[in-house]
């Protein structure tokens, strides 16, 4: 993936995630919308979200980071992506 040579900022990530989610959920999504409010957390959907973030932003999401709260809305996922990418940069 070429994730490392493009800018990762909140606006870009949020826009990309909104587009991905709208397609996946089948209807438009807002940044603050609770994706799991209706109680449906299919393991498949969860897996797809995790893998999508990992592949798109060259991250590894493991252990305590893998909590529903971090994936509850587009805004939360954006925060997670920015936080984990910042960590990866300072490591390398």
């Amino acid at each position: 993936m070429s994730a490392s040579n493009r800018t990762i900022d909140a606006e870009t990530v949020e826009g990309e995630l909104l587009a991905f989610l709208a397609e996946r959920v089948g209807s438009p999504v807002t940044p603050e919308q609770d994706l799991f409010s209706a109680g449906l957390v299919s393991s498949m959907f969860a897996m797809q979200l995790v893998v999508h973030l990992e592949d798109s932003y060259d991250l590894e999401i493991v252990g305590p980071e893998l909590t529903l709260e971090h994936f509850r809305s587009v805004r939360r996922m954006t925060e997670l992506v920015l936080r984990l990418s910042a960590g990866a940069e300072s490591d390398g």
Binding site: V25, G26, G39, S42, S43, M44, A46, M47, L68
Partner: protein
Amino acid sequence: MSDEPALVKCLVWDLDNTLWRGTLLEDPEVALPDEIRAVIVELDARGILQSVASKNDHDHAWEQLAALGIADYFVAPHIGWSPKSGSVQEIAEQLNFAMKTIAFIDDQPAERAEVAHHHPAVRCYPAEQATELTGLAEFSPEVVTIDARRRRSMYQAGFRRESERESFQGPDEDFLRTLELVMEIKRADEVDLSRVEELTMRTSQMNATGVHYSDAELRALLADPDHEVLTVTLTDRFGPHGAVGVLLLGYHESVWHLKLLATSCRVVSFGAGSVLLNWLVNEAATAGVHLAADFRRTDRNRMMDIAYRFAGFTEDSCACLAEPDDGERGDIQFRHLVAEERPEPTTMRVHAPALARGEVAARSLG
């Protein structure tokens, strides 16, 4: 239990000079030998799915299979002019099967080599071996269950369901509601056990520990008052999905120990795993106990890891974990949860027995 069962779940047939005698595009007619027909019928009865990867004109070849009266035996056929390695891969993906559970039979050494090159895990057989397949261990499941006998029709219903899902406009959850899903959770009896064993053998992605419980082990636990063996079936308006889950629970005073949770890959996208977990959390909340689930990472069960964590289970320690810890846990970890009431699912109805209430209280007093 360490031996990984090497059963074939799907056999992919070449057509010309493998399934039938002759070449469809060159010969005036092709013939299906009786002994090949018998192999197809027998493998189907054993619950082994069969598909087709053939270089032919699709409609022409499919009409021929229909004329021979065997078209219904095949799922996800791939007939066209693309490389067979690609066809085999698409078949595996459509069925959600690992490559090591796929077998391929073709009279052409070059075709077998092409498939083997791209997919080393796929077992390849020359056409002359076709009539011997039913005698091979990898095509001979020890137990053939009710679900196995109707597996093919369940998969075919699954493809109809999937095509309706693809054409459905609107949120996924709305589509799930149109399916009229009903989950039934019941205490396993002797008859259910063979279905349970097969499920734990066939399900590696969604098995939280990678441990396979044998029929005898589960049978012994059936009689144990401190254990609960539950089977899960799912039905919708397209028909039954069959046995889709198994759950093995050990009762302790302040915690219920979830030793095994395996759900079928077929129903993952319906949220069956989370509905099941949420039901269990509600039962535990009512009983006033914590939950401790066994988890061991395998290279195939990341989805299960995510499912537990999204359901609120953590690696945090808790005093209650001393109760189920027998000191022989090896690399099996606990995932812990303080159970609190959860909302009812919005996408399916759940029929289930009340767990433990009264019985266990009485047991722990006695």
